[in-house]
Symmetry: C2
Subunit: 185 residues, 2 copies
């Protein structure tokens, strides 16, 4: 879609915050949503668990994953049509980010795709600080490996290894203002 | 839409569980979703609060209410297309129930609309058993009055004044099996 800068500025923005489990997606996404004037927060995990009985694990079932993404897409479209920016908090791989961007082309060009990253040691350390029932253990590392093999571009990565929870505002401003995370046409 | 019984049987069912605050909508809806083979649970309150900043109170803003219902509709359509029954847990008035039924006509004829009801004294007693921060007080009664003035038909009412929490299975079977709650064409 070919628009002038002025038109693009008026369009809503969709922020896809991704990354392996334990990297701080939910905290960062919720804080980002609270920083925007008119915003929605869409948790992919919550949307996924709306399917109660008969649910397959989305990493084992393409049908289940497709249902989740169609639900995220529908919600995102409705919010954009109401002039609301959307923050999607989910383990989103590049293929899924590009799919969503393409499905939103008639509504907006502004899709931001940021994959939060930390070095494996920091990730495991942070994981151990969680309540035992929330600890992911080795699965954190498996997801990291999947991201590495997903064709992810460096410019969509945001390494927070050196950041503390106090730096969250800085991380959010980076996501909002640094053009490197925007998915171009 | 004109279908034979066999076709209607194969269609997914959408259950709209409604009623004033404090009547047991969430508990009953979640239990109903767990009774169905392939089911989704859609909380209208959760969907409403996906809108973080800029959100208006839906009972004061037609635009906000319309956004919520469009989101519920989109999710419900996606679930039905995946052959999943849907339980919608929300304060749904008759006009909204008929609107949803009409918007789903191309997918299913099976829309069940049940408004849970208790006498005002029981409602206030149950409300006082809640944690103080969850108590609704007088607002329970205001919602009851709104339902009374909404053109609600008696056959969509399910009075649970005489039911205890142990009777929930019986209430669920009543909702699933008693045809009086189905919204006809």
């Amino acid at each position: 879609m070919n628009v002038t800068k002025r038109e693009a500025d008026k369009m809503q923005t969709v922020y896809l915050l991704s990354g392996p489990a334990g990297v701080g997606k939910s905290t960062t996404s919720q804080a980002l949503a609270r920083c925007l004037n008119n915003s929605a927060y869409v948790s992919g995990d919550y949307v996924s668990h709306m399917h109660v009985n008969g649910r397959q694990k989305p990493w084992e079932s393409k049908l289940e994953l497709s249902l989740i993404w169609n639900n995220i897409l529908s919600l995102t479209r409705n919010f954009i049509l109401n002039e609301i920016d959307v923050v999607v908090d989910y383990v989103t791989f590049p293929d899924e980010a590009y799919w969503l961007r393409d499905k939103l082309k008639d509504l907006t060009d502004n899709v931001v795709y940021t994959v939060l990253w930390v070095d494996p040691e920091t990730l495991l350390k942070r994981d151990q600080l969680r309540l035992p029932e929330h600890q992911m253990g080795e699965r954190c590392l498996i997801l990291m490996e999947e991201f590495k093999q997903s064709g992810l571009k460096n410019n969509n990565l945001l390494d927070t290894s050196q950041k503390s929870p106090d730096d969250i505002q800085q991380v959010i401003e980076e996501i909002m203002n640094n053009k490197q995370y925007r998915l171009a046409d």
